[in-house]
């Protein structure tokens, strides 16, 4: 896995995207996949920024083999928040009746192949897998 630490701040989204682009390029993936990977990371990371109140930094790791990409976000010193257990958003409801929030996790579920959550020693670890075309 290639890992880098980023400040818990929305200003990290752009450097995270550059980190992703460099990693995808090193694996020979089509740069078009950057959109999907960036979106998954943004939706999970912004939840950590807004709700985590943990340490000053979050770790982002990328790995996998062949066509498989593994994305792992590690958030230290936080209360548990399991995005895999978040209630599903009903996107068929009229727009006036939709509640705020939840859409980011909904999009992550649509884009990811698998998503898992672990919590240990006040550390949240979210792991997403995604199969990409080369």
């Amino acid at each position: 896995m290639m890992e880098r630490r980023f400040p818990r701040d929305l200003g990290s989204l752009e450097p995270m995207s550059r980190f992703v682009a460099g990693y995808l390029d090193s694996r020979g993936f089509d740069p078009e996949h950057g959109y999907t990977v960036d979106l998954i990371i943004e939706e999970l990371f912004t939840n950590m920024v807004r709700h985590g109140k943990g340490g000053p930094e979050v770790d982002l790791a990328l790995g996998g083999e062949g066509k498989d990409l593994i994305i792992r976000l590690r958030d230290y010193g936080v209360e548990p928040f399991d995005p895999t257990a978040a209630p599903e958003v009903d996107v068929d409801r009229p727009i006036e009746e939709r509640r705020a929030g939840g859409l980011g996790i909904h999009l992550t579920r649509k884009l990811a192949d698998t998503m898992s959550y672990e919590y240990r020693d006040r550390c949240s670890v979210i792991t997403v897998t995604k199969r990409l075309a080369l």
Partner: protein
């Protein structure tokens, strides 16, 4: 980088990346729109749920005031995100 340009004739040009870090800037710029509007997505490369939220807020505000909001020239990957969010059935997307 994200750019938004609100033109006097109801056209709005979006460019770059509309992510959570840029959503407030987009929201502020779109408050200047008070009539029928067309958002041109030709140069928008990326949008997340935070960006979708800004578009939906603008749609609701304009719709409640009796005005239309049309989204045009979306890249296929951007359109897919609107579809996943169920917004393709709500918003006017051409």
């Amino acid at each position: 980088m994200f750019e938004i340009e609100v033109l006097g004739d109801g056209r709005i040009r979006l460019a770059g990346r509309l992510d959570a870090a840029e959503a407030d800037r987009a929201r502020t710029a779109l408050r200047a729109v008070s009539g029928p509007a067309t958002m041109d997505f030709e140069h928008l490369e990326y949008i997340s749920s935070a960006g979708l939220g800004v578009i939906v807020e603008s749609y609701k505000r304009l719709h409640d005031a009796g005005h239309s909001l049309k989204l045009v020239r979306l890249k296929p990957r951007i359109r897919t995100i609107f579809t996943y969010a169920g917004l393709d059935k709500v918003l006017t997307i051409e």
